[in-house]
């Protein structure tokens, strides 16, 4: 038997042998081992390949062609078997890997921002869109900024309107964000549009509707020809944007020494609007909720901050931020805000 025939026979045997063993393989790992054994540098096909150069050119062509054919067919067989085994494996995985998809998930826990922080940001954004700059107040300030610059000199009866805390050195945890008015007006050129969200303090006992620590958003607008109707329009626009409805206002005269005229703006209660509920936690059956004390800035206040009241006028307000939040969510008790209680905070 010529060398050529022997090699061809050998190829056939190898092919048969490997094909059988491929068919018998049960796992992908068996197949990988088989492949390593037969198709790498030291395997039987390599032996045949090494004998090819010694053949007659014509024989070499024939054997070479057959070698390539066998090799290609074997690779295809491996591939096909591999595919089958993989499919079987995956099928088995799917069948055994059952989960009850109706059990609760394990959500990653994001934290919660305090509701006042959230709604303050909303309010700030609306005012920003309306052209207002945001300014932060001092927490503790001087008598000058809290009272005097606001047209409330020492001894003025209006001082009785604020129940004020004092440090032993005579400084005041601010009773209102208006304490920033003098700085805002004196440090900016008109037109001035600014809001001051901040924490304020009043010396009063805490219960469901009173807090010694509360939050305000001060607003200041100064330009030529600013009017009472501008004040009303600006706050109505803001409140409608904030509550995402066309709020109704009720406005009463009020008195604050740093505005003239002074007024109190109330909005309609959306919680019990149609059937006046005496026990409504939000408006207490009054249908109207006092929300924004406001007014045109008193000429003395403008003057003290270096703005000529003959040329400019303006308005200011001090909106209760915690009230905005209480109304938005129907929160019944102010004391939750400083409770640090996660059962409350995680709802927002």
């Amino acid at each position: 038997m010529s060398n050529k025939d022997a090699l061809l026979a050998s190829l056939q045997t190898i092919q048969q042998d490997i094909t059988d063993r491929i068919q018998q393989a049960e796992h992908v790992s068996d197949l990988d081992a088989l492949k390593l054994q037969y198709l790498t540098k030291k395997g039987p096909l390599k032996d045949i390949q090494q004998q090819l150069p010694a053949l007659e050119p014509t024989d070499k062509a024939v054997v070479g062609q057959q070698f390539n054919l066998v090799r290609t067919q074997l690779l295809a067989a491996f591939e096909q078997k591999n595919h089958t085994l993989q499919s079987q494996h995956i099928d088995a995985l799917i069948q055994t890997d059952w989960r009850d998809v109706t059990l609760p998930g394990q959500p990653p826990q994001a934290g919660h921002l305090h509701p006042i922080t959230q709604l303050r940001a909303q309010a700030e954004d609306i005012f920003m869109r309306m052209g207002f700059e945001i300014i932060e107040p001092n927490v503790v300030d001087t008598d000058f900024h809290v009272f005097e610059a606001l047209n409330i000199p020492a001894g003025h009866p209006a001082r009785d309107m604020w129940d004020t805390f004092w440090t032993t050195h005579g400084y005041i945890p601010i009773t209102h964000t208006s304490a920033m008015q003098n700085r805002i007006i004196s440090q900016h050129e008109p037109p001035i549009r600014a809001i001051v969200p901040g924490r304020c303090f009043r010396h009063e006992a805490t219960d469901a509707t009173h807090e010694h620590t509360f939050y305000q958003i001060e607003g200041v607008y100064i330009d030529k020809g600013i009017t009472v109707s501008d004040l009303i329009g600006t706050l109505k626009t803001f409140l409608s944007a904030f509550y995402e409805r066309d709020v109704k206002l009720k406005i009463q005269p009020s008195y604050f020494p740093f505005v003239e005229p002074g007024l109190e703006i109330m909005i309609d209660c959306a919680i019990c609007k149609d059937n006046t509920d005496r026990y409504c936690a939000t408006c207490r059956g009054k249908r109207w909720i006092e929300l924004v004390p406001a007014g045109l800035i008193h000429p003395h206040v403008l003057e003290m901050a270096g703005v000529d009241p003959q040329e400019y006028s303006g308005f200011a307000w001090g909106m209760g931020l915690d009230r905005l939040v209480m109304i938005k969510y129907g929160i019944e008790d102010l004391r939750w805000f400083h409770s640090g209680d996660l059962r409350f905070l995680e709802q927002f």
Binding site: P173, I226, T227, K236, Q252, R343, L345, E346
Partner: protein, 800 residues
Amino acid sequence: MKLSLQWINQYIELKKDPHDIAERLSISLAEVEGVTVYADQYEGIVVGKITALAPHPDADALQVTTVDIQHEILSIVCGAHNIAVGDYVPVATIGTVLPANDHQEGLTIEKRAIRGVESEGMLCSPRELGISDDHSGILILNNEPHVRVGEHLATLLKADDVIFEIENKALTHRPDTFSHIGMARELATMYALGLNIPEPSEHPNHTTKRISFDIQNSTLCRRYSGAVIKDITIKASPLWLQLRLQRLGVRPINNIVDITNYVMLETGQPLHAFDQAKLHGDTVIVRTATDGETLTTLDGKERTLTTDMLVIADQNGPIALAGVMGGITSEVSEKTTTIVLESANFEHYNNRKTSRTLGLQTEASVRFSKNQDPELTLPALQQAIAMIVELAGGTVETITDTYPQPRTPQQIITTSTFLIDRIGDPALTNTDDIVATFTRLGITVTKDKDTLTCTIPTYRPDLTMPEDLVEEIARFKGYDTITPTLPQRDLTPAHVNPHIAWKRRVNTTLTQLGLTEVYNYSFVGKDWYGMCNVQDTLTIPLRNPISPEHAYLKPSLLPSLLGNINTNRKHYDQAAIFELDTVFEDNSDQPPHEIDMLGVAVYTQQDTVYERTKGVVESVIGRLNMPQVVFRPIDAKNTDPILAMLHPLRSAVVTCGNELIGYVGELNPEIQVKLGIQGAVGLAELRANTLYHLTDTGTIYQPVSIHPALTIDVSCLLDRDVSLDEVRHTLTQAGSELLVKTIALSAKENVERFGQGKKAVTFRLMFQSSQHSLAKKDVAADVENVKNVLTKNFAAEIRS
């Protein structure tokens, strides 16, 4: 301020529904806090006269009365014994429903037999009528002026009325509204009604000088009108007067005191009566107190006075605190026959100061502190004298009036254009309308084309400039009728406050990391700070704290955050919270330094609370693109008192360059044991101001290398207190540009193997090139260099 509608109706014809009036008052003046309607309360109760009295045949305790009620003679069984033939008494006739009160349901009077004798009604006690708590006998009406048989009790007592309660705050600048006349003027303007204020009949000045008046301080006592009235009879006031005072919140005392109060409620002018017999000497002096002088005021309290307080005095000393409260020694009593009646005006700032200093706010000081009109004193005095003569008898002996500088009406010159423009709604009003409103308010207006010259009455000291007149127009029109407008403005966008944006970024980062934001008070107390071992950090006390728990400005966020963990652990076995808030640092007599702080507290049942807490801090710092931050063990020499809250060996100080950022660590086990906290608590407090200034808001992009990174681990022994952050940063800098990162993989302490105060540390050096894949030989020099730096700079002993 309480207001009687019946009284108001003496001055104007206000035929309106009480709730309509309340609504109008709130639109144009101030919030109405309450409306109480007293109507038909005494329906069926009339005045009867007892014409006969007989004992009850079957009951010794009862009498059978015969009572004339004008159209009928009734036989009524009565248990009281304070009655006599000829007495006028209130008779509840058959069908009457007695007013309900604390002692009785609304009892209906029926014709029925009492122990066998038919009773056709009931004689009533003051308590049964709700007039007072007196239930000792029947109310005797003999002394009521003009009492007449058959008259409805409601008419005799002027009992059908409506009382409005008006919020005072909006009236802080309006002394005139603390009177029925002032309120009538407001209502007359609201409803465009005529106002009829009767002039009090004038008593001519008498000059019989039993008492003279010496006003020594005319700055603080702007006017003093006084009278001496002799031969008066002190007794109870007529019931209608008592009832009215009671409903307006003033306790009836006797006719003289009641009249002074009544005239005050009518005119706004406080008055005071002294018992002349109790005065020493013949001069009433108005002067400031001498230091330490004392006066026992009518409420029975002894007051120690200072030199800036104004007093009324006799030759022995103070007899009243001017414009605040009378003294007990000169109080009018049942025996008084001659009174000195004071109707004076006191300067408002000084009056308020005295009242505040002594903590004594009275009906009088409320009015004086609002700058009451000195023009009122004499008319009010005349009015009071007229009532005294009528209800207490008496003869006027002296009337004097000291008024060195009469208040002159002020002028405000403005234009109707200004007033209308400032409101901003041209359709709201016009010049004629404005003039009409002003005139109703008592303002005299002279019109010259557009210019209005307004003469302001002395009772309106709040009106000083054109802006004040804007309010007078707007409020009577009603603010709700003004058409809202928006100010004209250009398109310049609002300046964005970078600090607000920064805070939002931190907030977002922390919530993304699973932390929930809490708010704690700015005020803290000694007890909890003591529990947290940090009582000595409390350096800024409040002068007037609301409670001991809120007595200091807070120096740190950590104690309150620990408090939050301590309360939440009842409901949660793990929690992670943060707070971004201001703390305070004492700055001697300057305003306290305000420092923004970021506080974090983590509560968990796992042993990795330090790593978790530090991880939060690192994430925040990472999000802020800050330069290299170093965590170091706390130096034993660090005296920051807040460190008493932290575990000495499981806490780190965080710095960036030379700047202190804050601390992160575990709760001091001593505190944890005291509080009985199961699990572990991690705490961090960072200076937010510093973080803010070190934040790089820009994002620096680095191209991603397509070539694989090569990692090489280096192990060594280091001193235990060496900061691995510091080593890492130094090593990274020591390497070439191929060394992109150094990570501390592990650090172990083992005294037996490594010796005391040592730790075994493995660093992983990460090399990467943007040009090609790296082989070990490419980084050999770097590794060598790193080992040298470890040895030289950090006294490391290289292990591999």
